[in-house]
Symmetry: C2
Amino acid sequence: MWHGAASDCGLLEKAELFRGVPSGALAEIQASSFRRHLCADEALVRQGDPAETLHIVLSGRLRVTQTTPEGHQIIIRYLGPEETVGCTTLSGGAYYPGTVTAVDDGKLLGWNATAIRQVMVTYPQVAMNAVAILGTRYVEMQTRLRERATQNVERRIAHTVLRLTRQAGRRTTRGIEIAFPLSRQDLAEMAGTTLHTVSRTLSGWESRGIVDSGRRLVVVCKPDILSSIANTPS
Amino acid sequence: MWHGAASDCGLLEKAELFRGVPSGALAEIQASSFRRHLCADEALVRQGDPAETLHIVLSGRLRVTQTTPEGHQIIIRYLGPEETVGCTTLSGGAYYPGTVTAVDDGKLLGWNATAIRQVMVTYPQVAMNAVAILGTRYVEMQTRLRERATQNVERRIAHTVLRLTRQAGRRTTRGIEIAFPLSRQDLAEMAGTTLHTVSRTLSGWESRGIVDSGRRLVVVCKPDILSSIANTPS
DNA sequence: CGGCTACTTGACCAGATTCAACTCTTGTGG
DNA sequence: CCACAAGAGTTGAATCTGGTCAAGTAGCCG
């Protein structure tokens, strides 16, 4: 669907950062960009490095993580095609707050900090889009923080899985499948729990026929029941 | 210090949203604004209402909260002078994700959605500032989420208190005092715990001479020891 | 003084983490 | 092609942090 669909012109027009920008401008913007290929498990930016580039995803999927000094890791989010990587560069932060790693092989388009900031000043629509992107992510984080503070593990895992189906769900005969490799550990780092608890919870759901999961795979068979779990007060 | 210092001209020049904007532009921007007074405990915007206005704080302090359908509340942040209220309006969200209430009496300047979006398009610096503000808050939320996921209660409370001293700390003879009324419940809603646990924790610190707290009051006597608590792996 | 709100503290309990042992997949190299 | 190592997942048992319940004290305002 996404893969290979991007011809050489029109790479930018669908990107969330460049929506609504006139195509003449897009050509000029693209002229200042560079291409980047990324293999699975390769890091694009590292936590703590100076924030010097911004990328948009053309194909593939990336994972954004943060690691504490003690070595605990959490997953901030996954990014797919059309999305923006390295927002810190947009907002003028000095260092990347997290690490971005490829989950699949993928292609990206990149700009350095000064180039993209110049683009924002020249084309206000890009700046407006940037505001919208960051605003959305900010609210998303608020929601997750609230979930973490007020819900028990099962509900949080349910929410996490549902969010992922919305973001990267693929219809199959068995149900909605999360379209990239996702381990118990990954889910745990998103929901703020341990892989053991995730495993137990998925096992429970599996015995009730709500999900069908395997090695690095989750398929939601009964999304409605999962939503009701996600929304039932503990 | 802040109170009353703002004369009629130059209200905007210090606001985080309008930094670096030429003063001619500021006058024009201010012309499209309206004033608003707010009494303690009065709500400025309500969670779920259409996002129609943006404000900046001239004086006083505000609290941003989110409430779940079940009635659990969390505190997203406190806002003081120069800060921006209702960022959702900037980023084009349809509804306010949280409720903003006055902690003290205060004065604000407001714009409606179309006016402020027009300002951003006309003066790219404002849009750039908006990107910076949202970027900072986004990273802040990431940090809190990570804390919530990886640290025990005591560390989280310590971090919360330290953040508040940085944001609204006032030097006194006893130590650094948080300069607005702050109950155990408030701290609990920020650190993601219960007022009981906050109370117990503060009692413990008090007996060690680290803090000195009373009814809706927290004074940090030994900030260095508190930092070490905040940064010691559990 | 009485009523209200904020705060404190003890006892108990439970959800979730930790520890530990084991199984199932998958991929690799002899 | 099979063996085996490494990675991923499962599950039971013990433990414990922090929440819940309950009862009481202290400060504030009309």
